[in-house]
């Protein structure tokens, strides 16, 4: 009996879910639960607020991947998905399942404004931020974000990404990448993500939203809670 249980565990897929720096673990709980219901063995990577710049985050992610069995699927969202792509050259992961990665500058006047905002000792996404009288996190993320804090160094680098895009070499990514994007996402907009992601050598793209017969176009943060998106992520993770 123990043999059968052990065999089943060994055969079930493994996933490392990356909690995006600045977001709380609770924001990823629906995703984790969806995977666990499908018998995926899930580990969760959090970074905390004290880590240094983006490089330190990528190092921590690679180290975590190397602690795994080399057969894990990395699951990430937003800036966390960008970290996963930065780590893709060094990690032993099997493939990556990514929602709305940040692949280029944030276009438009809001992106320009955000890139100019000063960052103190740390950036706390729980603090309200307003632009033209509107709630910025609501505009970009959608639902009330489960925020946390992120180190000032990483926040400053991410602000730089809003101007110039992250320092990615997508043509060097050797693992297969499944990408989910949504028409309603203004933080990882389709006009940035879709063209840029064509540089990935092995990429599958799914467009969520009304044109996939989903209920709606989802904003950035809504991709983490929409049941149809979570089901698609689960299917992408468990496939052989």
């Amino acid at each position: 009996m123990l043999f059968f249980v052990a065999t089943a565990l060994a055969a079930s897929p493994h996933a490392l879910v990356i909690v995006t720096p600045g977001m709380g673990r609770d924001a990823f709980q629906p995703l984790v639960s969806e995977l666990e219901r499908a018998s995926v063995q899930v580990r969760v990577q959090e970074f905390g607020c004290g880590l240094g710049g983006v490089g330190a985050h990528v190092d921590a992610l690679v180290a975590e991947l190397q602690r795994g069995d080399g057969d894990e699927v990395v699951v990430a969202h937003g800036y966390g998905a960008t970290l996963a792509l930065l780590a893709a050259e060094r990690g032993p992961q099997r493939r990556e399942v990514l929602l709305a990665p940040v692949l280029g500058p944030l276009p438009g006047p809001l992106g320009a404004w955000l890139a100019e905002q000063p960052v103190g000792q740390a950036l706390d996404l729980r603090e309200p931020l307003r632009w033209q009288g509107r709630d910025v996190w609501g505009l970009l993320v959608g639902a009330e974000p489960d925020g946390s804090c992120v180190s000032a160094a990483a926040a400053r680098e991410a602000a730089g990404w809003m101007r110039a895009g992250p320092p990615l070499h997508l043509d060097q990514v050797r693992v297969p990448v499944w990408l989910g994007v949504s028409a309603g996402d203004a933080l990882s907009p389709v006009e940035v993500v879709v063209p840029a992601s064509r540089a990935l050598p092995d990429r599958e793209l799914v467009r969520f939203g009304l044109n996939r017969f989903d209920r709606a176009d989802f904003r950035h943060g809504e991709l983490l809670v929409a049941p149809e998106v979570l089901r698609a992520v689960r299917r992408a993770v468990v496939r052989p």
């Binding site: 276009p107 438009g108 006047p109 809001l110 033209q132 509107r134 505009l139 970009l140 028409a183 309603g184 203004a186 933080l187 907009p189 389709v190 006009e191 993500v193 879709v194 063209p195 064509r198 793209l205 467009r207 939203g209 009304l210 044109n211 996939r212 017969f213 176009d217």
Partner: protein, 335 residues
Amino acid sequence: MIGALLLLAALGGAAEPSAAWVPIADGASAWVEHLPGDGPVVVLCHGISSNHRFWDLDEAHSFARWLQARGYDVWNMDLRGHGPARRDEAGHRQRAGWTIDDYGQGDLPAVFAYVRAETGAAKLNFVAHSLGGMAFAAYLAQEPEPPIASAVIVASPLDFRDPDRVTGLALRGARVASVAPFVPTPLGGRVAARLQHLPLRLDERLSAPGRMTPTSRRAMYRTVVSPMSSGELRQLGLAARAGDFTSADGAVTYREALGQVQVPMLFLAGRADHVASPDRVWGYFDAVGSPDKRFAVIGEAEGASGDYGHIDFALAEHAAADVFPLITAWIQEHP
């Protein structure tokens, strides 16, 4: 200064519109309505299954009249087979089956030549929606030095890679529908105008929820819808297969033919556009070689009153605040 002159011109009151048929080299006719003004000359072109009323639905939803009120000299055109140009000057129904190439290489140069001859303007400003912008790509591919001072391309897709489910189905459906000489969409429009909502959330695929009033929606279905020709549907079906907008014979991929274009061009895309997703419009923007080009998305996170759908650019309640000033600013930057 230009703004002051335009305002002075507008104070005189808007002159009455007039209309004319424009003969095309292949024997067909386009149609153009003239809303006179003393300022820059602007030619407006509609999209697929549409007509000039897209830019001039009624007093409260009219980019054409909005421009004229600011002194612009406006020429609002109908491609052959659309609006009044469903018939020629003699009242005969024009034969169907035209391709988007026919529009770009026949209708647009004919209307541009006509307007230049009428106005004496050396260069024109051109504003096109959806298929009108695709026809402009076909025009630019054969006319590397066009008499165009500036162009504004609104929601025109040129890149059909990575299809979503609905776009893939629609483009495949276009191939099937192209066996008929034309698709009588005005009949469907009249039915749609009587219904509160269309099935399969078709309204939402055209206009983002809340952007248009029910009254405008009804007026749009009654007056703006024109037939679709088999040739344009075949050419769109070809785009589905190729992943790219090509000439009707498949020989020219228009994105690859636009590298030499030097026309200053502004591209507008809607965050909630389910017909021309912003990345498909971006493909057009990216392909144009002009160093003077800009791409903007109309959406709430971009500072607009809301996310814009495919037909909202001219017909939404707040289009005059969210969209029209962007277009005139671009025209004024390129005298």
